[in-house]
């Protein structure tokens, strides 16, 4: 079902010393049904799948947990700290996620504002330092600001994840220049997280040279999540290969593709 770009054409994605063969990471939120979710994730070819940490609802049946629907031996579960507005809360959620027993990785979010869901970069840096010192592989969701990205790397982040546009907005890649700048200056992988709306957004994003894309709503809110997940898998691969291939230079004049010599008199 899932195709992966032939090894000769691309190298694996390495985060925190671990190799992955898909450059598409997906979330598990907001699907209409669990069946839609599992089929879309399968179609996406993703290996890394994000999950959130929440209280068990003791009033209802315990069927709502994602592990009833996702096989943790098949996917690399990446717990997030979505909904946390302070470094302390994010550290607490990260440790709760780790205690689930799958890995020591966290998709770190410290949100600064409920309307835009933009990150609180001060809290994000504090939480990154604390968690990195505690042995976590921190994948830090941040804005498209080079200075914050550099400081996150210094703070010990295993991966920096600038947004394409606000979470859940589907506005696509708003600032390709910033994303390219961040990618060119960081040593750790750069994965664009949030804002991708459709396949062309994913392709253009990968063409900037980033290491991967994390998306959720683009799949979950599509009329047909399985088709969109397939489109995104292809778009991420296409954009990656186009980046590696090196595009032709842009010219503002036409240049004929056929010989100008040899024309009839």
């Amino acid at each position: 079902m899932t195709t992966v770009v032939a090894p000769a054409l691309d190298s694996p994605l390495v985060i925190g010393g671990r190799e992955f063969h898909s450059r598409l990471l997906v979330g598990t939120g907001k699907y209409a049904t669990n069946d839609d979710m599992t089929r879309a994730i399968e179609a996406s070819g993703a290996e890394i799948v994000t999950v959130a940490v929440r209280r068990v609802n003791l009033q209802r049946s315990n069927d709502e947990g994602i592990l009833h629907h996702l096989d943790p031996s098949r996917y690399f579960l990446l717990a997030n700290t979505a909904g946390c507005y302070t470094a302390d809360d994010a550290v607490r959620y990260a440790r709760l996620g780790r205690a689930a027993g799958f890995n020591e990785w966290v998709k770190l979010e410290v949100i600064g504002d409920p309307q835009t869901l933009l990150p609180d970069t001060t809290g994000l840096l504090d939480a990154t330092r604390t968690l990195a010192a505690d042995g976590f592989k921190v994948l830090a969701y941040t804005n498209d600001d080079l200075i914050t990205a550099l400081r996150l790397e210094d703070a010990g982040a295993a991966c920096v994840m600038p947004l394409a546009s606000p979470i859940g907005s589907g506005l696509g890649l708003l600032n390709p220049f910033s994303i390219r700048t961040i990618k060119s200056r960081l040593t750790v992988p750069v994965i664009v997280d949030a804002g991708v709306g459709t396949a062309s957004d994913a392709c253009v994003t990968m063409e900037q040279g980033v290491d991967g894309i994390l998306m959720n709503t683009a799949l979950a809110a599509a009329a047909d999540p399985v088709r969109m997940a397939t489109a995104m898998r292809l778009a991420v691969e296409a954009g990656r290969l186009a980046y590696l291939a090196g595009r032709m230079p842009r010219r503002e004049i036409a240049v004929p593709s056929s010989p100008t010599a040899g024309m009839l008199e």
Binding site: G27, T28, G29, K30, Y31, M37, T50, V51, A52, V53, R54, R55, V56, L58, N62, E64, G65, I66, L67, H68, L77, A79, N80, A82, R95, L96, G97, R98, A99, A100, I167, G168, A194, L214, M215, N216, T217
Partner: protein, 89 residues
């Protein structure tokens, strides 16, 4: 494993509000009446939760080792958070 509750449990309870043989820890924000001497393992069992699918935090300390659940006594006023993974981005 002896299940007798430590004496401190009885001392901590305010007289008249709780039956002497019961305790009321706060579980996910709601008081829950339980038999005195109950452990974290008893709580999960009573709630019908699979210990492998949840994480328990007891008075802000995460219980990382599930084998300790049966040895972790609860007391009135204890704060228990039981969390699990749900869909998220």
């Amino acid at each position: 494993m002896p299940n007798a509750p430590p004496l401190s449990i009885f001392r901590r309870m305010s007289a008249g509000t709780v039956h002497r043989s019961s305790i009321t820890p706060v579980v996910n924000g709601e008081p829950k009446a339980m038999a005195a001497g109950s452990t974290v393992a008893d709580l999960l069992c009573e709630l019908g939760l699979d210990p492998r699918l949840v994480v328990v935090e007891h008075n802000r300390t995460i219980l990382r080792d599930r084998t300790t659940y049966a040895a972790q006594p609860l007391a009135s006023g204890d704060t228990i958070e039981i969390v699990h993974f749900v869909g998220g981005g």
